[in-house]
Amino acid sequence: QDVTLDVFYAFPAFAKFHEPIAQEFMKAHPKIKINFRAPAASYDEGHQTMLRQSVTNQLPDVYYSGFHLLSELVEALDKRKQIVDLGPMLAAEPEAWRKVNYSDALLSLGQANGKQSGLAFNASTPLMYYNAELVKKAGGDPDKMPDNWAALVALAKAIRAGATDVAGMAYNIHDWPDDWLWRGMILQGGATLLDDSGKKVGFGGAYGEKALQTLRSFVTEAGMPLIDWDQSRQQFIAGKIGIFFDTPARLRQVTDLIGDRFTLKTALFPIDDKAKGKLPTGGNAALITAKDPAKQKAAWEFIKFVTGPEAQKIVVETAGYMPTNLRAGSDEFLGPFYKANPNFRTINGQVDRAAPWQGYPGNNSVRIWRTQREVINSVMRGETAPKAGIERIVSETEALMK
């Protein structure tokens, strides 16, 4: 008989792809009705809502959890047996089907607490946006952007020198709400968040010092303004910043806001360690919290659909996220779109580097980032030397990891 699924997601604006996907799904599965709950304002608030509802047993059937909160949520829900392990369900599907749709890297994004807790729905790795005119004016080649940080800073310096009141680049790590960009800086160089013991940070010492030096050089060399990331993006959109780093999810919006003021292009995130370099993955994974077996089954159908190529096509076209389905990029689905909008295709080149979200031990991740961020900000402002800075970051982080 008919099943109604309660689906809960964060960011009301995501209605722009959730709604059409649900329409498509219901067309394909007439017996399953999708009912969206009032969306949460943010991942954090969605997370709090889930925790609250787990206490009162009001959980939805499907929830899209931010990657950075996934393991905490799964841990909490596991205690009350309120989350469904997707591993067996996935295993029950034909192996071939699994292989065509999901890579291991993609599957790993949804793993937490050692099991397949969810399937990645939205995913993003940091993307380079740039102003082709400014790059050209500075003597760079808009079609072949630097693939390492030293060259990038040099180009940014040239952009800054080439025009008044234009900043060479902006990498808004100093006030990013989470450590996504910081992880980007760490992972791209082949370092890890934690060392092998899992008890110490993996980016201390010379590596970290160099990373901080690079960050400082953004300001000193490239004239990066130390302002709010929204303001920074606005400035980029106004044509006053040469190179800008942001999530691909905003590609659609940035493109619209620029209009034909200048030529927006995107490029791969510079990677200093081409072999080991990884990139942090933001976004969310769909998970099942339904209790009723019939609903669980319907929910699994739903999750398969939303992570399927038709749904991902909608997501990519409306936002710019990295597709989380291997087939989505094919000609059958996104091919024509990518051809028309090459900027959107760029992110696909980073899928292989997408690393799952790894937490610090001790549930203090947010506080650790707030502490680190203060030091990073202070280094970028030139108030703290990079060496002293990384020492502080390491010691304070490790203190909070207990």
């Binding site: 130390l226 709010d228 303001q231 900000n377």
Partner: protein, 303 residues
Amino acid sequence: MTAVAQGAARSRRRRWIEQATGLGFALPALALLFLTILLPLAVLLYLSMTNYEFGAISADWVGLANFQKALGDPIIRRSVVNTLVYVAVVVPGGVFGALLIAILVHGRRRTRSFYEVIYFLPVTSTLIAMATVWQFLLHPALGPVNAVLRSLGFGQIAFLSEPTTALPTLAVIGIWQLLGFNMILFLAGLSAIPRDLYEAAEIDGASNPIDRFLTITWPLLGPTTMFVIVTTMITAFKIFDTVAVMTRGGPMGTTEVLLYNIYLEGFQYFHTGYAAALTFIFLAFILVFSVAQTFTLDKKVHY
């Protein structure tokens, strides 16, 4: 003898009726107060003595450890200082600015409604939209405020991103939000002042605006002013929204205020027990402030 006793009993009846009326009128409020404030506070008090983490199934009793920890936490201390700075800017600005505007607006005839609406507009705003707007207005390179500063020969200022200016900027935005509402309270207070007192003052020579203000307006506005000061102070102590939306405590913790830290502890770090203890410290702090202020002012403003 019995007559005396009877008389006493009867007067007691009258007093009893009076007191019962008073209590009866306060009762619905008291019941709601109990249900929506006191009971939750009791739960919170219990939590503050545990190490409960949000979403957890169980918690351990830790006694006063959370309170001890809070008193020694440097981040909390910093946020107390930030909060006090914010309060110190917003209260005088929000109260006396509103008083000035209210008095000026009250004297207008034709333009009165025009100004009232304009000054009231910020009260109606939702932070969701306004945060974006403020960020653009204060944008160092694109915003009109800095355009004006530049044209006046000052350099541009990254109001929300400089550690030295971020908190004062939030305070100014706080005043912007509060001013209109306080103005309306003052306007309500002004319309309750009997007109013949102004007439008497005018005859007595208290004719210029300052004299009129000092002789009539200020003293008779006392109850309103007291209310506005106390509520503005409490509102300022509770500063949270603008921080959460516009600076998230940054840059470099310069806008981390007490309530934002409690929010971080409770809803970001999920240290519910610790956050509860912080909440109690916060409550004790502003309650003492406001009760002391209220009861000392109360004697002065009523005749």
